[in-house]
């Protein structure tokens, strides 16, 4: 088991050094921070709300993760396939799931780092008022989990193709489904047709529904399970796709 941990660590370390070897990582972080700041203060009505909370900050996360997370995840496997390094990686004495986990964890840590760098927003709100910091920590946790779910989906689409653009578009579309399934209008639509159960099901499938609870400061076991199972399922599918490619 020790060696499994060592392998995952080696893979994750390689992946992370790869990110920071090029300017792309820094550009990404800057764009991420600009978007966060911009949306929070310009469109989120942070000041107009006149309340000490980060609602205006977190409410945008499901939307701009839609583009930012696939941008990070799209290269995970398609780049390995394009360069042919996947042949090196999968002939090394590691299991495929160690490689998948290592690469996933590296990009997840990278996203978490970008999110962590938004701490000035948190400082600002504490400076201006006295927010419920428990709710904020909880929202950060939900945000990280949501990023993980998106990322796992991007990992899956990235395994499907050696073309990063295709991988990007596919994962944006899939993530968009997960977001849209949760907007009230979809549920109303199904309800009006008489399929209440279907409306409930789609709502339950959506990241919006589960992220909401975190934003309210509630850590529900079912929401945790939801995000973790999306991650688990998508990574498992990544493994299946990689295996089917190798079988030819």
């Amino acid at each position: 088991m020790n060696s499994a941990f060592g392998n995952i660590k080696a893979i994750a370390k390689r992946e992370l050094t790869g990110y920071f070897a090029s300017p792309v990582a820094y550009v990404f972080i800057v764009i991420f921070l600009l978007l966060c700041g911009g949306f929070t203060f310009l469109f989120g009505g942070f000041f107009e709300r006149d309340q000490a909370s980060l609602m205006a900050f977190f409410m945008w996360h499901p939307w701009f993760y839609l583009f930012l997370v696939p941008a990070v995840g799209m290269r995970l496997w398609s780049e390995e396939r394009r360069l042919g390094t996947i042949e090196l990686l999968l002939t090394m004495p590691i299991t495929a799931w160690q490689a998948i986990a290592g690469k996933f964890l590296a990009s997840w840590m990278f996203l978490a780092l970008a999110l962590l760098l938004t701490f000035p927003v948190w400082i600002t709100v504490n400076y201006l008022g006295s927010p419920d910091n428990g709710v904020i920590v909880c929202s950060y946790l939900g945000s990280v989990l949501m990023a993980g779910a998106y990322l796992a989906i991007a990992s899956m689409t990235s395994a499907m193709t050696r073309n990063q653009v295709v991988a990007f578009i596919l994962s944006v579309v899939l993530c968009l489904f997960l977001v849209l399934a949760g907007i009230p209008r979809v549920k109303e639509f199904f309800d009006s047709l008489g399929f209440v159960w279907l409306g409930n099901l789609t709502a339950a499938m959506s990241v919006m529904t589960h992220f909401d609870a975190f934003q309210r400061g509630v850590i529900d076991f079912r929401d945790l399970i939801y995000f973790l199972s999306v991650i688990g399922f998508a990574l498992f599918t990544t493994g299946v796709i990689l295996r089917s490619h190798r079988s030819g």
């Binding site: 060696s3 070897a21 042919g84 042949e87 002939t91 004495p93 590691i94």
Partner: protein, 321 residues
């Protein structure tokens, strides 16, 4: 060390590898020859566990590659075709990663990287990004990665591809030296490498093994094996071949060149006469008695000709006509 039994790989209906069996022991260097698309790389990918076989078995060091891949992979160093490497890393970063994933750390890792860098002459590019390396250096970097853990089994897919003549020479020497203690399979399109480095060679064509033997044994399959090339002065070509056809063991005589009163002919023995090389040459020499012989040479057999006749039987018949 490496045992391959009835290995097959079908891509859809295409039979890329179709029932290949062989084994390689420690101390052997096996050359893998065959035309483009013969299935060399596919076979190597199955041996290294990259792609699962459609049928058949691969075992490395006694571990089955499908059932017990991790210990099997631990024994192998692999240089894939086209030498892939992570372009977003430096050479030393890449080699450190390769060492780490092989379970090396601290001093052992440093030593392993240092050794591989020395063996592959990479000092000058150690801190350069892989992306900006020339083709040959990238190839050497990937080669260094394959030997970083001093593996017992080496699988090298066209290891000298893209190297300059000096480096080709170095790598052949390296393979030969390492082959004394390891089991090595390498594929190549350069037939001299078979002589330079292999203890045994396999020719594969359309997914099947069509020849398997030491370089000498393969050469003996050539119709050139034991043939005699003769240059005489002052006799007409037609007269020379007429006389030589009277020798009983002679199968065929071809006039290679006729100019300035000199004639060069190649005399091929009948298949059953090939075994006794010396005798055939003597018989030819006796027939030539009285001519002014400038040169008489016994041919060893040519690998390129064996390769061509085995892998392109149809074209060869056309040439004969």
């Amino acid at each position: 060390m490496i045992k391959v039994e009835n290995l097959a790989k079908f891509f859809g209906t295409k039979r890329a590898v179709d029932g290949v069996s062989f084994s390689v022991a420690r101390g052997e260097v096996l050359g893998f020859l065959g035309p483009n698309g013969a299935g060399k790389s596919t076979t190597m990918r199955m041996i290294t566990g990259f792609i699962p076989p459609t049928a058949g078995k691969v075992s490395v060091g006694g571990y089955d590659m499908v059932e017990n891949p991790i210990p099997a992979k631990r024994l192998i160093g692999y240089l894939p075709e086209n030498a892939p490497a992570y372009t977003d890393m430096t050479v030393s970063g890449f080699l450190s990663f390769a060492a780490e994933i092989r379970g090396l750390s601290g001093d052992a890792k440093k030593k392993a990287v240092h050794r591989a860098v020395e063996m592959c002459f990479l000092e000058s590019v150690l801190h350069q990004s892989v992306e900006t390396l020339s083709k040959g250096y990238r190839h050497r970097t990937c080669f260094a990665q394959s030997i970083i853990h001093d593996p017992e089994v080496l699988i090298l897919d066209e290891p000298t591809d893209g190297l300059d003549p000096n480096q080709k020479h170095e790598v052949r020497g390296l393979i030969k030296r390492m082959g004394e203690k390891k089991a090595i399979i390498f594929s190549t399109h350069i037939l001299e490498e078979v002589d330079a480095a292999c203890s045994r060679a396999i020719i594969i064509d359309r997914g099947r093994i069509v020849a398997n033997g030491t370089p000498q044994e393969l050469r003996r399959k050539s119709e050139w094996a034991g043939a005699v090339t003769l240059r005489v002065k002052g006799v007409a070509g037609s007269a020379v071949s007429a006389k030589l056809y009277q020798v009983q063991a002679v199968n065929r005589v071809t006039v290679v060149e006729e100019k300035e009163g000199r004639v060069t002919v190649s005399v091929f023995p009948k298949p059953q006469a090939t075994g006794a090389n010396g005798e055939f040459a003597r018989a030819v020499g006796e027939a030539a008695h009285g001519w002014h012989i400038e040169q008489l040479q016994i041919e060893e057999g040519r690998l390129d000709e064996v390769f061509r006749s085995i892998t392109m039987p149809d074209t060869k018949q056309e040439v004969k006509k």
